[in-house]
């Protein structure tokens, strides 16, 4: 009965992280650590857990001393040493002469690390997202090519309203007349974030957290930042170094306005990164926390409490799932809209002083 409910709990909420940890927890039930499990899920891994199945991924390492190395992550599982490398907490280190990772007297690792270009869980999720995008949109484009002048059909009809939404409700009002130049980028980030978010919500496929990864969000924000800078016209830069329309004493002798504008300028990509990363990761953490409650109660008060709590937990996590579905599209919208607004401010033409 207990197993049945756990199975249901996993089916409904289904984050494989639990299943991956089950074998370790079987002997020592009381050691279920919700924090560790949740972090394990939201962070990057060198393998994918689907149920009790663990899929090894390729590890690619580069260092100036050792050159390029490529091998399966199964070689490094359970703290094994392979080829002079060892993995601890998903980080790969060089092994010292004694066959152990070098530590100082407090137990902190002092060993040096190679550059890790491994195809991790997040990279797989990234490739999946990109593969889905290429499949969806090239198919959609073919629909337009093959059915010129006809009403949209199939996948074309699914994406057309969204593409028009990005064009007419995000790009046009935010950027103005030069919107067409930025449209391919805006469409790509919108669908990348949305599909990436949705991928993170699909149960049982390994629990990807692509858009909730700070590196992924950072790259997206930096691209927006770079495109903004590249397209910034004279007015845009003038607004930063010599803001028109403010009293002279805000600029001289202390260039106060310049510093304020500079902070605004720099904070934009930071805010974009953190908003996307925090929203998606937080959503995953909340759902996982509700599910973890079942196991925590089960461990503390026995199976009965676990089953009792599971009803409430599952209800809450379903509710959170619904909210996360909304958040998935909302964050895509917000990121795209803000990018469009930044582009708009970069290309805006002022013919009045303000």
């Amino acid at each position: 009965m207990y197993r049945f409910f756990v199975a249901i709990a996993l089916f409904v909420t289904s984050f494989s992280a639990f299943a991956g940890h089950n074998p370790e927890n079987e002997g020592k039930k009381e050691t279920f650590n919700a924090g560790e499990v949740i972090l394990h899920h939201v962070m990057d891994n060198h393998e994918i857990h689907i149920g009790t199945l663990s899929i090894p991924l390729p590890i690619i390492l580069y260092s100036s001393e050792r050159g390029l190395d490529l091998f399966s992550s199964s070689r490094l599982s359970h703290g094994d040493v392979y080829n002079g490398y060892i993995m601890e907490h998903e980080k790969i280190y060089f092994v010292g002469d004694n066959g152990e990772v070098a530590r100082d007297e407090h137990g902190h690792i002092t060993a040096s690390k190679p550059f890790d270009f491994s195809i991790t869980k997040t990279v797989v999720g990234l490739f999946l997202t990109i593969g889905l995008m290429l499949f969806f949109f090239i198919k959609t484009a073919n629909g337009y090519k093959n059915r010129v002048g006809k009403a949209p059909k199939g996948i074309q009809a699914v994406f057309e309203p969204l593409i028009i939404f990005v064009r007419d409700d995000i790009a046009k009002p935010s950027i103005g007349k030069n919107y067409e130049k930025f449209l391919p980028y805006l469409l790509t980030i919108f669908f990348f974030i949305w599909i990436g978010n949705m991928l993170g919500l699909i149960p049982f496929i390994g629990g990807f957290n692509v858009t909730g990864n700070i590196s992924v969000a950072l790259v997206l924000a930096l691209l927006t930042f770079i495109i903004t800078i590249k397209n910034g016209n004279k007015d845009y830069w003038k607004h930063i170094y010599n803001t028109p329309g403010v009293p002279w004493w805000l600029k001289f002798p202390i260039p106060l306005m310049f510093f304020i504008e500079l902070i605004g300028f720099i904070s934009k990509p930071v805010v974009l990164t953190l908003r996307l990363f925090a929203n998606i990761t937080a959503g995953h953490i909340i759902i996982l926390s509700f599910v973890s409650l079942i196991f925590i109660f089960n461990n503390l008060y026995g199976a009965g409490a676990g089953i009792g709590v599971s009803i409430l937990s599952i209800a809450f996590s379903i509710f959170m799932f619904a909210i996360e579905l909304l958040v998935a599209v909302l964050q895509a919208y917000v990121f795209t809209l803000l990018s469009a607004l930044y582009f708009g401010s970069a290309v805006e033409e002022h013919d009045h002083a303000h």
Partner: protein, 164 residues
Amino acid sequence: MDLLTPSLGLLFWMSLAFIIVLVLLKKFAWSGILKALKDREEFIERSLKSAEDAKAQMSDLKADNEKLLAETRLEREQILKEAKDMKEKIMSDAKLSATEEGNRLISAARAEIDKEKLKALSDIKKQVGELSLEIAEKVVRKELSDKDAQQALVDIHLSQAQAN
């Protein structure tokens, strides 16, 4: 904290993969889709405009037709009226001329009759005169062959003349 630290490998793969997908989608998806959407919107706009134009033309045509129809109707009425007038005029003219002709014929006939009558009368008078003369001649001749009778006649005349 690890969660907040961007990792080099992921930054690398994400930049590479995203830029590749951006370029691929731009080339093979977005340009075609956006162009098709734009074309279709322009087509719809054009179609709507031409429909509007056609509607305007139709209403123009209809107005023209109605005007034409009204004109035609007016013309027809006028023609009918003229024809009616003409008919009446012709009829009245014909009547008038017929009457006149009749009158003329009647009067001519009457004149002829009168003439003939007068002629006949004068002929009759002449013949009567001649006949009377002949009779008178014959009578006189016969009478004059008898002396007594002559005498008697003279006497009668004389007596009448005396009596007057």
